[in-house]
């Protein structure tokens, strides 16, 4: 593959950090330097003590050579972080708007390269950042329980935070969507058993496309749907690339779903097609835990 499996459909944390390094930060030069023409801009000529703005990666390089001090952004002060923490803790259903998009990465970059430029002891800032991160992670987790196949709103989420849930959310929502399609498809097929009845040209057709070319995975899915639900879950444990696993899971889940919910009304689904709403199904807790585990993997795996 042209891209390593761990970078398919998502980014590695180093990439998110790399992007954040392009954002600007104010520095106070300690030495003079002529301007430098770059591909993406020009580093202005520097005179000692005269503040300028440069990309973070430039600031980090200068700082490494003790040629500048970095001015930490306002939101990174102890006082503001405390305010932010309180704001985060006060509302467990949404992220506060106090932090910039790249707050996790910028925080790490500045703590890592210029701890002596912070106005408070680095460990105080570090702990505050960690506390904020944890309280926001708890929110993200809680929010993911309400995943559906329609949309998910994540206002004020940070770039790194978003990327940590990306694989999980993408996989889960695409699966929910396929399950929805499978059920609709199954209902249609109940009426119409001709095998070659296909409305191929219907753009709105939500039937999952089961690529012939990906046939092994699909074929496995079919086989699993004849097995017990428990056996079919093994699909989620096998190795392979993200998209291969997702593909396997989508079919195994689809199989399980199809068996266990065929007599449920469809009306509840767009709202909450979650795994937990079947009170009489003993497997539910398992499913729930599986989601939690997958989420944790998504977060901790990075």
């Amino acid at each position: 593959m042209a891209i390593p499996a761990k970078q398919v459909g998502t980014f590695i944390p180093a990439e998110i950090s790399f992007l954040a390094e392009n954002s600007l930060v104010t520095i106070i030069p300690r030495q003079a330097m002529e301007s430098v023409g770059l591909i993406g801009g020009t580093i202005p000529s520097m005179r000692p003590m005269r503040r300028i703005e440069v990309p973070i990666w430039v600031a980090v390089l200068l700082k490494k050579q003790s040629r500048c001090n970095i001015v930490p952004p306002n939101w990174l002060s102890e006082e503001n972080l405390k305010i932010t923490y309180d704001a985060e803790a006060a509302n467990m259903t949404r992220f506060s708007a106090n932090l910039p998009w790249e707050w996790v990465e910028v925080g790490e970059l500045i703590l890592g390269s210029a701890p002596d430029d912070l106005s408070s002891p680095p460990h105080v800032i570090r702990n505050l950042l960690r506390d904020i991160r944890e309280v926001r992670q708890a929110k993200a987790r809680a929010g993911l329980k309400n995943l559906n196949d329609s949309y998910l709103q994540l206002d004020n989420v940070g770039a790194m935070e978003l990327n940590e849930i990306r694989s999980f959310v993408t996989m889960a929502m695409n699966q929910l969507r396929i399950m929805q399609g499978t059920r609709e498809g199954a209902e249609r097929q109940d009426v119409d058993v001709e095998p070659d009845d296909q409305d191929d040209d219907d753009d709105d057709d939500d039937l999952p496309r089961e690529s012939y070319d990906d046939s092994m995975l699909t074929a496995k899915g079919y086989q699993d749907s004849y097995d017990t639900a428990r056996n079919s879950r093994q699909g989620s444990e096998i190795g392979g690339t993200e998209d291969e696993r997702a593909s396997i899971n989508s079919h195994t889940f689809a199989g399980v779903r199809h068996i266990s919910t065929q007599n449920r009304s469809r009306s509840a689904l767009p709202q909450a097609p979650s795994y937990t709403d079947d009170d009489d199904d003993g497997d539910n807790e398992d499913n729930d835990m599986e989601i939690d585990a997958a989420y944790l993997n998504a977060v901790n795996g990075n």
Binding site: S215, M216, Q223, I238, G240, T241
Partner: protein
């Protein structure tokens, strides 16, 4: 394998393909590409041909006036046979697609098939190279080389950016290093550096990567 016109026996079909899928599943979790399952593949091809023959026999038995809609029993039997054939084909495709993709990944990761790379000093890497052909089918070696050529041409059009270069974001172009044992002089883009034990340098990481691996110098943090 015993053949009968009875549909119930068709449950035997597909077992081989399932084995191939098991192998694919295993392949996905392995770092090395396992041996090619030539016997299994050939058996499945044979099974598909047997199934095709069965279809033909069934159809021949019905004579020229056979109409599928009028004999549900026969048309159902044929339908099942067809499904088995197609499933087998799909399993074959999936297995080979997975193998092809793994071969491609190897090409991307730098296992050159033609000359051993253009960097003259990469002779060391030669002995590290895993045996390319272990367990591969000759056709796979051919695909490996064929894809290598295809990629080499594409790469040749992008020499400015090194298409097969690292997918990790660049960081620390220059690093601080300490010399652990005398290593003579090295030529860098910034001139000649003499590496005497315990000296420290701020050097281009790319210039000393190999010396770090060989234990001559150590990266300082």
């Amino acid at each position: 394998m015993h053949f009968s016109n009875h549909i119930s026996f068709t449950t035997m079909y597909g077992d081989l393909a399932a084995k191939l899928i098991q192998d694919s599943k295993r392949t996905q979790s392995l770092d090395v590409l396992p041996a090619y399952q030539a016997d299994l593949v050939n058996s499945i091809i044979r099974e598909i041909r047997d199934l095709q023959r069965d279809v033909k026999i069934l159809l021949d038995q019905q004579g020229p006036n056979f109409r599928a809609s009028q004999d549900r029993r026969v048309s159902c039997a044929i339908f099942v046979l067809q499904i088995c054939m197609r499933r087998n084909k799909r399993c074959l495709l999936a297995y080979h697609k997975l193998r092809a993709r793994r071969l491609e990944t190897l090409v991307w990761s730098g296992f050159e098939t033609t000359s051993i790379g253009s960097e003259g000093d990469s002779g060391v890497a030669l002995s590290d190279r895993p045996s390319v052909a272990s367990g591969w089918h000759p056709d796979e070696e051919e695909y490996f080389r064929g894809y290598g050529d295809v990629l080499a041409e594409l790469k040749g059009e992008w020499t400015d950016i090194d298409l097969t270069g690292s997918m990790e974001p660049p960081r620390d172009l220059f690093i601080d290093v300490r010399v652990l044992k005398d290593a003579g002089e090295i030529q860098t883009e910034y001139g000649l550096i003499t590496l005497t034990k315990n000296s420290q340098f701020y050097v281009r990481q790319g210039d000393v990567e190999r010396l770090i691996q060989q234990g001559y110098i150590q990266k300082l943090h």
